[in-house]
């Protein structure tokens, strides 16, 4: 194979520090694009193992090979709990992946996406056209504004909010704050659900961020549970999601029969996995419970 010969001649590696002392490398075939937007640096690469992937300020945001995992996990888990989701807000998510997953549900009437960085949306449309198809549906509306600003005027406007922003230290720092979770609470209907990226609990600095997030959400919502998935490009390959809710419990209000009846095609999510995802390792349980006692 000629492609492989080319790779063997020249080695290019993308590196990302997962901790100050641990580095994660992806072999790169070529860099397709690089741009500095008003908010962040955006890069797109092709790689033999993960296919095409996108980075923001040097951190992998998604890859063709593993993006199905979190797109499914942030969508199907709440959708199998809340009986009647009509209005959804996605924060971040300018790539369209989460929206595309949501569009499988006929009951969803309206999907608002708040993605501050219009350059990010343009880059995704150009280099990930399959995923970005999710943005073209007539139910989907993209707003290029700050999410906190967007949320300030919203009161009981959504059944489900998905915070797709991943980085509590970068440009999306504001979406891991108490004011953000509080604004989401206010913007949700009285039986609304917020699902958010809860980071990785393994490396020390990530664990600290994870704790802070849980403490803030736990004090904002009456129900606040955490669930997990294996995502290869995330730090330590292990990733958590937050499920914060005003009324529904992710397990006791879980409706597997109804969900199965919808016949949604998946590659990662199953009803068994739904239950299992909330069964956390002891060290993660301990870390979360410590914050709940604070």
């Amino acid at each position: 194979m000629r492609g492989n010969e080319g790779i063997n001649i020249m080695e290019i590696w993308f590196s990302e520090n997962h901790s100050p002392h641990v580095k994660f490398d992806i072999r790169v075939e070529r860099q397709l694009y690089s741009v500095k937007s008003d908010y962040q640096r955006i890069d797109v690469f092709d790689s033999p193992e993960f296919g095409r992937f996108l980075t923001l300020d040097g951190s992998v945001i998604f890859s063709e090979q593993d993006c199905f995992i979190y797109n499914e996990m942030v969508v199907h888990v709440p959708m199998a709990v809340h009986p009647d989701v009509r209005k959804v807000l996605i924060i971040g998510g300018g790539d369209g992946g989460v929206a595309k997953e949501l569009l499988h549900y006929d009951s969803v009437e309206c999907i608002d996406i708040v993605e501050q960085d219009s350059t990010f949306v343009e880059v995704c449309k150009e280099y990930f056209p399959e995923t970005a198809k999710g943005l073209d549906d007539e139910r989907v509306h993209v707003y290029n504004t700050d999410a906190l600003r967007f949320l300030r005027s919203k009161l009981a406007a959504y059944d489900l909010i998905i915070n797709d922003a991943t980085d509590p230290f970068g440009a999306s720092e504001g979406f891991f704050t108490r004011e953000f979770y509080g604004s989401c609470f206010k913007a949700l209907e009285e039986d609304g659900i917020l699902v958010y990226q809860h980071g990785s609990p393994f490396y020390d600095e990530d664990a600290q961020a994870c704790r802070r997030m849980h403490r803030k959400v736990f004090h904002t919502f009456p129900i606040s549970r955490v669930y997990q998935a294996h995502i290869p490009t995330s730090p330590s390959g292990y990733w958590l999601f937050g499920f914060a809710s005003k009324k529904y419990h992710p397990l006791t209000d879980f409706k597997p029969k109804e969900w199965k009846a919808r016949q949604i095609p998946t590659e990662y999510y199953t009803c068994n996995l739904h239950m299992g995802a909330f069964m956390l390792p002891k060290y993660v349980e301990d870390l979360l419970e410590e914050e709940e006692r604070e």
């Binding site: 700050d146 906190l148 600003r149 005027s153 440009a171 504001g174 704050t177 108490r178 953000f180 604004s183």
Partner: protein, 484 residues
């Protein structure tokens, strides 16, 4: 301003050159470029400790500048439109003291607004001059002291023929400007000097559509807090003189109290900050103004908060308003400014400049990011949703009282004193400062008569969580008064 010349930073360049020459130090400071104190290098970084050096020929001397410091000061004077600029390393406090000591001597009177910074009253203790306070008008809705009017200044001048100078806040902490140009004309016509306290006004020299700067308005001296809106290191400041003030005399006055080991870190930060302001200040402050105006509109649309702006301007006590100041009146949601100040820090990890009884001030500067402003506004909206209580009425006349000056601050300071329980202090003369911090305007200064109203106000401020400073008794159960 000569823009081409402003592109250089002579003091900073001399330091860089010196660093590259790798001169062996057998002089102070004793850490010797950090080698003797590795922990200090860890803390501050190598570049920083390498230029922490002593005065020497290639680097000039702040006490008597003849080369690179002199050039840097000349560039600063040109950038600010003044005749002379003096680099100050003791904060704007030292610049204010330099101004007052340059124009006042013992027994002279100086006209000052009541909301002067404590540094002004402190320097009166040093020099023996006597303050003539102007009780600036209070905005009864938001409970802040406004500017002084030309008429009030004229009244004070006519009533106090011994007065030698007028000091004007340009602007106040809250962004309120007096008619400093009118006051300059009036004061000069009566032979008085005008001193501009511009601790909150550096940017006025580098912005379009901002209130007039002290020097442009005709002030004889101005104290500029470069480390606030100017971006230099904390404690660095600039003193400006104009209208033929004797610069040698001012330098002599400054040297009375200034260190002979001025920090080159502070001075170099003044030099490069001046360059930055001269070259890019206008664009930067344009952005700051736009952000502050945006934040004002957004905060006002939350409901319950009042972020005030240009609408306060009334041609008198608010002659102009500095729109870069983001002040918010908070009592309509039932919370004191100081309460919101604490909630923002404790619950939302947001530190603002100050909270007083009725207001908060968020300081917007050239270092801000729009997403951080969104956080501030998001947090304010949340605080209103979660914490708001019944609206609180404001008792303004209790707020701002003007005590009678019974003896000079210097005489009071050095008189024999005794402690009396605060409730029994009425009728006595105060021997100490009583300040509520923030915003740090004295409720009582040494030499002033204590009344029941003032005692009530002090106790009220403590109850509201203001930090009380200046008193010997930290619990403020006792006050120091002059012995009878």
């Amino acid at each position: 301003m000569d823009l081409k010349k402003q592109t250089s930073a002579p003091l900073y360049e001399a330091l860089e050159k010196f660093r590259r020459n790798r001169v062996v130090p057998f002089d102070v400071p004793g850490h010797k470029r950090g080698r003797g104190n590795p922990e200090l290098v860890d803390l501050l970084g190598e570049r920083c400790v390498q230029i922490d050096v002593n005065s020497m020929k290639p680097l000039d001397n702040l006490c008597h500048p003849v080369s690179v410091i002199k050039e840097a000061e000349e560039l600063a004077a040109d950038a600010f439109g003044a005749e002379h600029a003096f680099f100050m390393v003791g904060g704007t406090t030292s610049a204010v003291q330099g101004m007052v000591l340059s124009v006042c001597k013992a027994g002279d009177e100086i006209i000052v607004p009541r909301n002067v910074h404590k540094s002004v009253i402190n320097v009166l203790i040093l020099c023996g001059a006597i303050p003539v306070y102007i009780n600036a008008e209070v905005n009864t809705r938001i409970g802040i002291m406004l500017g002084i009017t030309k008429e009030q200044v004229e009244e004070a001048i006519l009533a106090h023929p011994k007065a030698v100078a007028v000091l004007v806040n340009n602007p106040t902490y809250y962004g309120i400007c007096s008619d400093i140009k009118g006051i300059c004309e009036l004061a000069h016509a009566h032979g008085l000097k005008v001193l501009a306290d511009e601790a909150h006004g550096t940017h006025l020299y580098f912005g379009d559509n901002l209130p007039i700067s002290g020097i442009a308005a005709g002030a004889d001296m101005a104290a500029i807090s470069m480390h606030k809106s100017g971006g230099s290191l904390t404690q660095s400041s600039i003193l400006l003189t104009n209208n033929g003030m004797n610069a040698d005399y001012v330098r002599t006055i400054i040297n009375l109290t200034q260190t002979t080991s001025a920090s080159y870190l502070l001075m170099a930060s003044l030099d490069i900050s001046r360059r930055n302001l001269a070259l890019r200040g206008r664009q930067s402050f344009q952005k700051v103004m736009e952000w502050a105006e945006y934040a004002r509109d957004e905060i006002n649309s939350i409901g319950g908060y009042y972020a005030y702006g240009k609408e306060l301007v009334n041609g008198g006590s608010v002659y102009d308003f500095d729109v870069t100041k983001l002040c918010v009146f908070t009592r309509d949601i039932g919370l004191d400014g100081i309460e919101i100040y604490d909630i923002l820090r404790d619950e939302y990890d947001i530190q603002i400049e100050f909270g007083d009884i009725g207001n908060i001030l968020a300081y917007i500067s050239i270092g801000d990011r729009i997403q951080d402003l969104e956080r501030l506004m998001g947090a304010l909206a949340e605080i209103s949703r979660l914490y708001s209580r019944e609206e609180r009425r404001f008792e303004v006349d209790r707020e701002m009282l003007l005590p009678k000056v019974a003896v000079s601050p210097q005489k009071a300071f050095y008189s024999e004193k005794e402690s009396v329980p605060i409730r029994k202090a009425a009728g006595r003369i105060s021997g100490e400062f009583v300040m509520a911090y923030p915003p740090g305007i004295p409720i009582l200064a040494p030499g002033e008569e204590i009344t029941d109203d003032i005692i009530d106000y002090i106790l009220y401020s403590i109850e509201k969580g203001c930090s009380m400073q200046g008193m010997e008794d930290p619990k403020v159960e006792y006050l120091q008064v002059l012995k009878l």
